[in-house]
Each structure stands twice: as structure tokens, then as C-alpha cells.
């Protein structure tokens, strides 16, 4: 038996309104392969809800949930260093029936305030699917807990059960993170970057270009050390959204604080990056002087294309890129992309159409399809993305999933350097970039 796959050409012909059921999680069981951890467990890889919430400076989290929901924190919190800020109030079967666990939250917070070192200034309460189904009124519980303890208590929701809903967990947590902001005044030369839970690569041209355009302060929540620093974000002139899951939070800030936003996409085609910066400049009324950066990037791209023309690459979705946009860029350089391992939504179709023009036969596999149990390795020279590395273990690998977020021309150059390193190293196959 063969796993489900479909060519880019066929996908584009079907159109965004007729995405095959294999790509729609609600239509079938979701296969758990090592490559789909990213999909299957929102809290499992990198920044899930729990770790994301702890980006709020001087905060701690109390997870109120069945044991099963907190299990990944055992490993993640140890490896990623937030174990001292996580607290658990496990639910029993009795709690499920009586809701008793909720009445214990204020007492738990009192104890956290006694033992936590340093003492948190905010406690994020996180509840899960069970409470979604019980209809728990968490904001009310948080207000009560706040009254009884001298600390901010913030509700958050890890509702995997609403994953395909209007406000999936990773969208909801982004909204939660910015929910404490107020707007005492406006600093016209300050902006916020919304989207990532870790800092943008400090070498990214975006930061340099913003400075060059007269923006004095570029805020990122992950860089804030104190809650007071965080409150400064309320003064920003506008928000720049770098990840689509932050659009909802940006919309809420626009509505609540009259703080406008615009979106920038993480792209790998230098021509598109150049165009995006130009459009951004005209929208904001500033000059983004990126000519030198653009020329340097083009030169590097051309040199790479010359050296590696015809190299075959498989791309997954567990990387810091949109796999379809990245595939288009690589194909335009003369590389081949026989397969992409990624889920698909209507938002990917603009990129898919461009990919269909340069590589219509590229096959798209979706890791969540039940038939992926039959996937057999396809020979490629290189993989990009952690999941693609799992599917094609014999190739050389560039994981390209670091937490230091790449963006702009420096991202392109960094990726090409990582690919060059992986392709030049016969022994060490993995460039853990």
C-alpha cells in the first residue's frame, strides 16, 4: 500500500475550496509518526501553550488538569529551564464530577506565592479540554484568586479540542500574553514585533532596517525581563505581526487599545523580501534602505545556485519557513524539490500556485494521513525540517528550526550557508542549524 500524496499541479487545479480530505484533520484519524509530533501535540515541541505563557516576564504557571495533560512538561521544562516556574494541580475523577479542583485554585496560588523563588508577579492559570467541556468560568475563578492573593492571576486555555476552531490554543495564548497591556501614551518611534515566543535573530536585517527608518524602540515580549518592561509595549505606535497566529491578538489590541498592526511574512525569495520591505516602507511612510542587503543576498543566492543546481531537496513543515514558499525559491534557483511533507490550508494557496509554475510534479504528503504508516523513504540529497529528516533519514539534513528566529535576507543567507555546510560534509550529515 502507498501513502497518500498529491502533486502541486493537482492541488492547484482542485483549488482552496476543494482541499483533499487527507489534509483535513476532522476527516480521519491523525497518524502519530515521529514527524507529526508538531501537529499532534501543541504543547510538545518548542513553544506550546505552557512555555509560551511563561514568556510573560516574572510569571509562573499553575496547570490545573489531569496528569496526562502536564506530562510533556516533565521533559520540556527540565530541558528548557522553566521547571521552577511550573506548578501542577492534578485533577482526579472526583474533581471531574464535582468541579472541586476549581475551588482549590486560590489556596494553590497562596502556596505558590510562599514557595516560589523569585516570587512571581503574575500567575497564569492554564486549564485544558476537560474544563472546556465542563464549561468552567476561569476568568471568575481568576478574579477570586486575585482578590485573595496579592498577585495578578491570568486565565489561559490549552484547549486542543478547539484546535480547528476560531481561536485555537496557540492563537488564544498569544491573545492572553498581550491581554495585560494598557495604553497610557503613544511613542511614535516604538513598535512591537508580535508572533514569536523567542527573540528575532539579532542580526536580522529587519531590526537594522527599522532602526534606519527612525524606529528607536523595537519591543519583543521574549526580550522583556520584568513586568514593567512588558507594560512599555503598550506605548508602541503600531504592531508588526510576523506569524499568522498573532493576527488575532493584534486585532484585539487594535480594537481594545487602538493600536494598529500590519503583517510581514517570513520569506526566502530575496526578490519577494525586497518587495515586501518596499511595500512596508510605503505603508508606514518610511524608507527601508535595503539595496545593499538585497544585492549581497542575490550574489549569495546566485553562487549557491551555480554550485548546487540539480540538487534534490525534501522539505517538511517543522522548520522556520513556509515549506511551499521555500520550495518555490529553491526550484527557482535550479534545485529540485520532489516532495514536501506538510499540512495545507487555504492560506498556502498563493505559494502553491507559484510552486506549480516552477515544479508542478512536486508531491505533497501530509504527515497526519493514516496512510503515512506505509511511507517508504525516497532518495533525496538533502532535507530541510525536522519532519523531513525523519521521512528521509539517509539524506543530509538541515533542521532549520532554531529558536533564534531567522527573518529577512539574513535568514536566506543563513539557510544557504547551512545547506552548503550539510551538502559539503560527507561524514556529519546533520547541520543542526
Amino acid at each position: 500500500m502507498k501513502p497518500f500524496s498529491i502533486s502541486v499541479k493537482e492541488l492547484v487545479a482542485l483549488g482552496a475550496d476543494h482541499i483533499p480530505e487527507e489534509f483535513i484533520p476532522a476527516c480521519h484519524l491523525i497518524y502519530s509518526s515521529p514527524a507529526t509530533l508538531f501537529y499532534n501535540s501543541p504543547g510538545a515541541v518548542g513553544f506550546g501553550v505552557k512555555r509560551a505563557a511563561l514568556v510573560l516576564p516574572e510569571s509562573a504557571m499553575l496547570l490545573v488538569a489531569p496528569n496526562a495533560c502536564g506530562r510533556n512538561s516533565t521533559v520540556m521544562s527540565t530541558e528548557e529551564g522553566y521547571a521552577d516556574r511550573m506548578f501542577y494541580l492534578p485533577m482526579s475523577e472526583t474533581d471531574l464530577v464535582t468541579g472541586r479542583h476549581l475551588s482549590r485554585i486560590p489556596e494553590a496560588i497562596h502556596e505558590i506565592m510562599e514557595v516560589a523563588d523569585p516570587k512571581p508577579k503574575a500567575i497564569v492559570i492554564c486549564i485544558t479540554c476537560v474544563d472546556a467541556l465542563l464549561g468552567t468560568d476561569l476568568p471568575r475563578i481568576c478574579r477570586k484568586a486575585e482578590e485573595e492573593n496579592d498577585v495578578l492571576v491570568i486565565p489561559s486555555y490549552m484547549y486542543a479540542i478547539e484546535r480547528e476552531g476560531k481561536k485555537p490554543p496557540m492563537v488564544a495564548i498569544r491573545e492572553t500574553l498581550y491581554s495585560l497591556l494598557e495604553r497610557p501614551s503613544v511613542d511614535p518611534r516604538a513598535v512591537n514585533l508580535l508572533g514569536f515566543f523567542s527573540e528575532l535573530d539579532p542580526d536580522s536585517d529587519l531590526l537594522a532596517l527599522l532602526k534606519g527608518a527612525g524606529i528607536r524602540t523595537v519591543n519583543q515580549i521574549s526580550a522583556m525581563k520584568t513586568l514593567d518592561d512588558y507594560y512599555e509595549m503598550g506605548k508602541a505606535n503600531f504592531n508588526i505581526v510576523l506569524h499568522p497566529e498573532s493576527v488575532y491578538a493584534a486585532g484585539t489590541l487594535q480594537k481594545r487599545l487602538n493600536m494598529p498592526f500590519l503583517e510581514l511574512h517570513r520569506l526566502y525569495d530575496p526578490d519577494r523580501i525586497h518587495n515586501q520591505y518596499r511595500l512596508f516602507g510605503s505603508a508606514v511612510g518610511v524608507t527601508m534602505d535595503d539595496e545593499a542587503m538585497y544585492e549581497r543576498c542575490i550574489a549569495k543566492r546566485n553562487a549557491f545556485a551555480e554550485k548546487y543546481k540539480g540538487t534534490s531537496v525534501a522539505i517538511g513543515e517543522m522548520c522556520n519557513a513556509n515549506p511551499y514558499e521555500l520550495a518555490t525559491f529553491l526550484c527557482r534557483m535550479g534545485l529540485t524539490v520532489p516532495s514536501v511533507f506538510s499540512n495545507l490550508t487555504e492560506y498556502d494557496f498563493p505559494f502553491l500556485k507559484q510552486l506549480a509554475e516552477v515544479s508542478p510534479e512536486t508531491r505533497v504528503y501530509t504527515g497526519i494521513s493514516p496512510s503515512m504508516v506505509h511511507y517508504e523513504e525516497e532518495t533525496v540529497d538533502l532535507t530541510i525540517g525536522k519532519d523531513a529528516a525523519v521521512y528521509c533519514p539517509s539524506a543530509r539534513h538541515v533542521l532549520w528550526n532554531s529558536e533564534k528566529q531567522p527573518f529577512g535576507y539574513t535568514a536566506v543567507e543563513g539557510l544557504l550557508e547551512a545547506m552548503d555546510a550539510a551538502l559539503s560534509e560527507p561524514e556529519d550529515k546533520e547541520a543542526d542549524a
Binding site: 484519524l29 491523525i30 499532534n40 510538545a44 489531569p66 496528569n67 467541556l133 484546535r163 476552531g165
Partner: protein, 462 residues
């Protein structure tokens, strides 16, 4: 506050234990969850996931499915997966908190899936609120009952095998009125119950257990053979080797490295070895119904036991006293059977060393004037060892002072009251022990800290 975990984090839940037992049996394992539980089970509780493929799926339940009780969607999805997989031996439906809160009737759902797909379907009624060992126990019992009823016969026959229900029925009938099993009878096969990655001291543990059970049983078989027949071992090496090979039992580690085709041996083995509390209930059941005797023991490697014993003795107090005058109050934190067996190994080495040291110090009368090399001092101390666990504790194999902890607060109260000199346990426990200044020796358990502190091989623990 009772129930609050301030330092530790949640251990492997029942649903992970349930999957661990079924993982290598070629079934379609459906986690009835929204996605997170399946991700946690595979990504954090199943070390085989990265290198041993298994058809594990999330049902992808969404809010309206749960609220409106749309079980037919799950049944359709399972049917689709059965087609996609093609050659599954069975379906297992694993319960999680979501079906628990909406009161899903897992047995009825299994019947409907079975009817629609034509594949035997096992409902595993876990809730995500107990620990892994309860789930593993549930999977063992569900498998045994399904085999007894012949529910898996069709899948067996597809493999060209004829076991399960008939063998079970025949054996049960033969047992009625039969004489008790002769403890000295030749043991041709041994089952190991309770061995999953979540129970082991190291991830190569299943193979080590198999080897050690095989060696021990071979030696017992040889001994019993000599007792029965009075036969003296031949001086010829090839005959000795053949005799040894003839007395080697087949060992089946149910839960790891054991496929669906070997499940029928659950009823045919001559004896069982229970290596964790998860295997106790099935072992008792198999003994009661089929007369298969069992022993409760986790085969500890001698090298590991010697190494840990040495380190325990080094930590004995007072440090400046003679070894024989030192003492150590020791706590082993693991699953109960592994903890008990390690305790017995440490005590046995300690007793042997004490005897050796005493003999060395006595010397041979009349040879006092003859110079001799300084005798080797074997590590020893007065040891008082307790076994503590957050998982199931069987009272009948617990000693006085052993403890099952129901929560972190109870755990900390116990440690503060008992003032142990040495603790052997998963390194994650240290997070709760910053105040304690004793000696901590790492003894990882995957169900506690997962890959964060995993020991791939027992050699890493030496």
C-alpha cells in the same frame, strides 16, 4: 497543600501504560483524544516511537464531537484507518480525559467499531488521571480476556496460527482436579509480565531481563534435572553444552520485543516472572485460572548491584569510622518490584562482603607469623533500606517502612521525617530535594522523567 505539585511534574499517565503494552502487537491503536494526549504518549512516554513503527493514531476529537456525542464520526474514521493500514491484527481504543468527561461508553464504541471494520476491537478504559501502571495492567487483562474469548482467533488464523481460546479452554479444563504443579518440573517456557519501557531501569532492560530469566531458569532446570535423575554432569564440554542448551527455556517478555504471534504463550508458559506491579494482576489471574505459577522479581544485573552497593557504602556514616561501624539509611525510589529486587541484591552483596571481611580478618590459625598481602576490604555497612514509590504498591511484597506516596506533600513529609543518608531514584526527584544534603544516586525511570534522564543501557548506570 495536598495535591499541589510544587517541584515535581506529572508522571506517565494510565493511557501511556496502556499503549506501552500494545505498542508492538501490530494493532491500530486509537487514542480517543483531541491530539495532545497522542502527542504526549508517543513523544514523551514511548521511547520505541522513534525507531519502531506502530500504527498509533489520534481520534482528533473536537468540541462539537464531544458535546454532541458524535461517536459515529470516530467509528467512520477508525474504518478509514483500518482500510489505510490494511493488515492490522486488532483495534484498541484508548480512553483519555475527553471521553471520560462526556461519559463515552467505550465498550459500546468498541462493539460498533468491530461491527463496522470487521476487526476485533479492544476497549481500554483509561482516563488520563491514574498512573501508567494501571493502564498497563488494564491492557494486559483486556488482551488476556480477549484471547480467552477467542476474540482474536481470526487474526491469529490469518497468521496461520491456532492458539488462544482453544488452548486456554483446554488448559483450564485440564487443570480441574489436576495435581499441583511440581516445583521441580522442567520449565520449558517462561513469561515475563510487567516489562514496558516505563518500568525498566534502562531501555535495554527487556533484553537483559530475558537473558537473565533464561540463565536463571536454565540453571534451575539443570539443578532439578540432577535432583530428579541423580545424573552427574558429563566431563565432556560438548555434552555439557548440549545439556545446557536442552535446558534453556523460551522466554517471552510480554510488552516488549514480543509480537502478536507470541501472545498465545500467555496461556502456555510454565511459569511467569512479574517484574513490575503492572504484571501482578494478570499473573495472579493466570495462576488462578490456568495454574501458571509466578514469582515477583526484577532481575538486577550483578555488576550494577555491586556498583550501587559500593557507592551506597561510600556514603555510609560516620565517614571516618571503620567500614563495619558505618551505617546508611537508604531509600530506593522506583516501581516497587524493581525497588524490592534491588534492595535484596544490595543486602545480599552486603552480607557476602561482611562474611568475606570477617574471614579475612580472622586469618588462618598458626600462620600469623607468615607475611601475607593486605587483604582486600570489601565494601560493607549497616544498611537499612526502604522502597518508596509513587506508583502501585502491593502490600504483600512491601516491608515495614516501605511507602507509597499519594502526592508530593506526603513524599516530602516522609523524607523530612526519615532523614535518609542515601536516595536512589530518578534524577527528577532531586528537584524536590534541594534542602537535603545526603547522597543521591541516579536510578532513572522513564515514567518519571522520560528522555530527560533516560539510561539507554544498564552500563550507563554503573
Amino acid at each position: 497543600m495536598k495535591g499541589l505539585y510544587r517541584y515535581l511534574s506529572p508522571f506517565s499517565p494510565d493511557q501511556s501504560g496502556a499503549v506501552a503494552v500494545l505498542y508492538e502487537l501490530g494493532g491500530i491503536i486509537v487514542i480517543l483524544d483531541a491530539g495532545g494526549c497522542a502527542g504526549n504518549i508517543c513523544g514523551f512516554d514511548e521511547p520505541r516511537w522513534g525507531h519502531k513503527q506502530s500504527a498509533v493514531y489520534s481520534a482528533g476529537i473536537r468540541d462539537l464531537d464531544a458535546i454532541l456525542g458524535r461517536d459515529e464520526r470516530t467509528i467512520d474514521k477508525v474504518g478509514g484507518a483500518v482500510e489505510a493500514v490494511g493488515n492490522a491484527n486488532f483495534i484498541a481504543l484508548i480512553g483519555t480525559p475527553v471521553p471520560a468527561v462526556v461519559g463515552t461508553d467505550l465498550k459500546a464504541l468498541a462493539r460498533m467499531c468491530e461491527k463496522k471494520s470487521g476487526l476485533p476491537t479492544l476497549p481500554i478504559e483509561t482516563y488520563g488521571m491514574e498512573y501508567y501502571d494501571k493502564g498497563a495492567e488494564l491492557s494486559y487483562m483486556t488482551l488476556i480476556k480477549a484471547l480467552e474469548k477467542g476474540a482474536l482467533d481470526a487474526s491469529y488464523e490469518k497468521l496461520g496460527l491456532h492458539l488462544s481460546s482453544r488452548v486456554a479452554a483446554e488448559k483450564a479444563a485440564a487443570l480441574k482436579g489436576a495435581a499441583p504443579v511440581d516445583p521441580r518440573a522442567h520449565v520449558a517456557s517462561v513469561g515475563v509480565l510487567g516489562a514496558t519501557p516505563l518500568d525498566l531501569l534502562s531501555l535495554d532492560g527487556a533484553e537483559l531481563i530475558r537473558q537473565r530469566v533464561e540463565t536463571k531458569q536454565t540453571q534451575q532446570n539443570l539443578l532439578h534435572m540432577r535432583l530428579r535423575t541423580g545424573e552427574i554432569t558429563s566431563p565432556f564440554r560438548h555434552v555439557v553444552q548440549k545439556t545446557y542448551e536442552d535446558n534453556k527455556p523460551d522466554v517471552y517478555v510480554f510488552g516488549m520485543d514480543c509480537g502478536f504471534d507470541q501472545l498465545g504463550h500467555l496461556f502456555t508458559v510454565d511459569r511467569n516472572v512479574v517484574v513490575s506491579p503492572a504484571g501482578l494482576k494478570p499473573a495472579k489471574y493466570l495462576e488462578q485460572k490456568y495454574g501458571i505459577p509466578y514469582e515477583v522479581s526484577y532481575p538486577i544485573g550483578h555488576e550494577l548491584a555491586v556498583s550501587l552497593h559500593r557507592r551506597v557504602c561510600e556514603a555510609a556514616q560516620p565517614a571516618d569510622a571503620e567500614p563495619a561501624a558505618r551505617s546508611a539509611k537508604v531509600l530506593i525510589l522506583h516501581q516497587q518490584v524493581a525497588g524490592n529486587s534491588l534492595r535484596e541484591s544490595l543486602e545480599s552483596i552486603n552480607d557476602a562482603n561482611r562474611t568475606l571481611n570477617a574471614l579475612d580478618s580472622m586469618g588462618v590459625p598458626g600462620t600469623e607469623d607468615i607475611p601475607r598481602p593486605e587483604p582486600e576490604v570489601h565494601p560493607e555497612a549497616e544498611l537499612s533500606i526502604s522502597v518508596g514509590t509513587f506508583f502501585e504498591q502491593e502490600k504483600s511484597i512491601a516491608r515495614e517502612g516501605d511507602r507509597k506516596f499519594t502526592g508530593e506533600d506526603e513524599f516530602l513529609d516522609y523524607l523530612k521525617a526519615e532523614q535518609f543518608d542515601v536516595i536512589l531514584g530518578d534524577p527528577m526527584y532531586r528537584m524536590a530535594l534541594k534542602w537535603w544534603d545526603g547522597t543521591f544516586l541516579p536510578l532513572p525511570q522513564y515514567s518519571v522523567s522520560g528522555e530527560a534522564h533516560e539510561a539507554l543501557t544498564e552500563a550507563e548506570l554503573l
